[in-house]
């Protein structure tokens, strides 16, 4: 223990004595650790934000949407999920507590909205009254969409908070009329704020009754909708999925062997697929960094070997003064480890700085977050690299014969 401390002391002195060279030596480690910390901090920040967003979707939410394989899309045959499909699901499948269609603009274009002299574009879509329950998202002020609004195709809507800003609506916009594409629409409520995701506002939308949206889209027959529903009993979720699938396959006239032309996703799957992407990125980065740490380690081994040769005489002197093989081994090993740890420390600081910089430069990006495990891992890895690549030079130093070492020119 005493020798360990003495070795740390002499290693630090030696690193300081060769300041610039030490930095160059551990550059591989610095860059490796820096990139892992930077990427981890950004990815973790993203992941925390996204997971918070997904929490809104209850775990018993199912989303059904049409799915066109790439080959069919090339042939111009697009799958559709129709209003009839939804009605069938609503009538034929048990165990569903809430169900809502969602109708986005078919062209994918945003709707043009205007209020007085202000014009803007916004996500405009139509939903059924159950949408609020399914998404557990409710109006902050005003009222929710009612069945009546849907049936009578009323020109009313709920808006996200961003719309108030974009159109410079009054602070209390309920009861105001504004234009959505070519129709005048009355605001009946303002939705709860959802915040930002990847720098995009989640509150820039206009939500109107499904019936109204259908009418505004014109040719109602070919519309492709999404269906969101809440399963009453979590236990029976798989059963519900299977039954919807059977029903839709039959309805779409699919033969055995044909692939589904729709997808049924649980909210869990959404989160999972996102987290899978995150893990893949993290693993890829860790792999790359692993390689760069090995390269860094070889750099350190190289310099340590040079240093052992350079200091052969010094090693001879130390042996003449009573250093044992173990003392010399420890001294050079600790020096390699300290080089790596100093590199790791600099790397962590730089990586954090890069992550924080990225977070501030990209508007709306979540703040960088470095989890403790990433720091521990970086440190552990750096130390490990030091031990693995320091042991050969250290062993070489410790095995030197004192007389030969002293005579070395």
């Amino acid at each position: 223990m005493f020798m360990l401390w003495e070795s740390v002391r002499s290693a630090l002195a030696s690193i300081r004595a060769h300041g610039f060279r030490s930095i160059l030596t551990s550059l591989g480690i610095i860059i490796g650790v820096m990139s892992v910390i930077a990427v981890v901090s950004i990815v973790q920040g993203l992941s925390a934000t996204v997971n918070a967003q997904f929490e809104g979707l209850g775990s018993n939410t199912l989303t059904v949407r049409s799915y066109t394989p790439f080959k069919k899309a090339l042939q111009g045959q697009y799958a559709r999920l129709s209003n009839e499909d939804m009605e069938l699901i609503r009538r034929r499948i048990d165990g569903i507590s809430h169900i809502t269609p969602i109708l986005y603009s078919q062209s994918g274009a945003q709707g043009r909205i205007a209020y007085r002299s202000q014009e803007s574009f916004s996500q405009v879509f139509g939903v059924g009254p159950d949408w609020m329950e399914v998404n557990s998202s409710f109006p902050e002020t005003g009222r929710a969409l009612a069945r009546e609004d849907d049936q009578r195709r009323r020109l009313v809507c709920l808006i996200g908070t961003e719309v108030i800003k974009n159109l410079e609506l009054p602070d209390e916009p309920i009861g105001e009329y504004f234009r959505v594409n070519n129709d005048w629409c009355r605001i009946i409520g303002v939705m709860e704020q959802r915040g930002e995701l990847f720098g995009f506002s989640q509150d820039d939308y206009v939500m109107m009754p499904y019936g109204t949206a259908r009418r505004m889209q014109g040719s109602s027959r070919d519309l492709d909708i999404q269906v969101q529903l809440l399963v009453e009993d979590m236990e029976r979720q798989d059963e519900v999925i299977a039954r919807i699938r059977r029903l839709l396959r039959q309805e779409h006239g699919l033969k055995a062997g044909d692939a589904d032309d729709f997808r049924i996703q649980t909210s869990e799957q959404l989160t999972e697929s996102f987290n899978a992407i995150i893990s893949t990125i993290t693993a890829a980065v860790v792999g790359i960094v692993g390689v760069s740490l090995v390269v860094g380690g070889i750099g350190i081994m190289n310099i340590m070997l040079v240093s052992v040769t350079e200091r052969t005489r010094e090693i001879g002197i130390l042996k003449a003064l009573g250093a044992t093989r173990r003392d010399i081994l420890l001294q050079f090993l600790i020096e390699a480890v300290m080089l790596c740890l100093v590199g790791g420390l600099i790397g962590i600081a730089l990586g954090y700085a890069v992550g924080a910089l990225a977070a501030t430069l990209l508007p709306g990006f979540p703040p960088a977050y470095v989890p403790g495990w990433a720091i521990l891992l970086s440190f552990g890895f750096s130390a490990g690299v030091g031990v693995i690549f320091g042991i050969i030079p250290a062993a070489k130093a410790s095995q030197l014969d004192p007389i030969d070492a002293l005579r070395y020119e």
Binding site: E6, A320, L321, G322, R325, I403, L406
Partner: protein, 244 residues
């Protein structure tokens, strides 16, 4: 003094010590059957032509090297049977080595150089510092403790080296041509230091080429081709002066 009594009190005892180097098909007998006893508090000069085996003998005495044949008993223990670890311990505690080329640690100041052997004794920094400062004061360098070796003159460097050799209070001080790189005035100063140390009871063995330095010592051993050609006792000049 009878032969047996002297052998019994000997701190260094060589019996038929040989050190051979094999160079291809040629064998170099650096030492070739040396028998020798050196007692505590002796002041010995080893002289001889270049290549006669002086340094080889010093290295063996200092446990930096081991005999190929014969036995070397240091303070009652056979060095030939010592482990690597034990040898390092002996080098650390029993031996103080001074080299012709000083051999200071280039990046450490005088104080750190002198403290270094104490590190291997597991001594705390404060203790090491106190002992090292005292040793540097002893050699007259109390005001140079933070100088790096390249900021010191040759004579001062050798004083630092002597302080480092002495700081652990070794049984034997070995010096291989300690004044070989120094001018005559500095040589004089170093020799006065050695004389004082000897007066304080230090056992000193020194290799030298210079006759008047050899004449300083109480005993002169002359090597020729790895053998002891002459082993002569004399009274130290200054000791004689003191007696009168």
């Amino acid at each position: 003094m009878s032969e047996t009594k002297e052998a019994a009190s000997a701190v260094i005892r060589f019996r038929d010590v040989a050190r051979r180097y094999v160079m291809g098909d040629q064998v170099v007998n650096a030492l070739d059957g040396v028998g020798l006893d050196i007692a505590r508090n002796e002041y010995v000069a080893i002289v001889g032509a270049s290549g006669s085996g002086k340094s080889t003998m010093m290295n063996i005495i200092g446990c930096l090297d081991r005999p190929t044949e014969g036995s070397y008993v240091l303070d009652g223990e056979d060095v030939g049977h010592m482990s690597e670890l034990k040898l390092a311990r002996v080098r650390n505690r029993e031996i103080g080595f001074v080299f012709q080329s000083f051999n200071l640690l280039p990046r450490a100041d005088a104080l750190k150089n002198v403290m270094q052997p104490l590190v291997y004794r597991g001594m705390r920094l404060s203790e090491r510092r106190a002992l090292a400062e005292r040793a540097l004061q002893r050699v007259g360098l109390g005001d140079r403790i933070d100088h790096l070796p390249n900021q010191l003159s040759g004579g001062q460097r050798q004083r630092v080296a002597i302080a480092r050799a002495l700081v652990g209070q070794p049984a034997i001080l070995l010096a291989d041509e300690p004044t070989g790189n120094l001018d005559s005035r500095t040589t004089q100063e170093i020799m006065e230091l050695f004389d004082e140390l000897h007066d304080e009871g230090q056992t000193i063995i020194m290799v030298t080429h210079e006759p008047d330095i050899a004449a300083h010592c109480e005993r002169v051993i002359r090597l020729e081709d790895g053998r002891v050609a002459e082993d002569q006792r004399q009274h130290k000049r200054r000791a004689l002066e003191n007696q009168h």
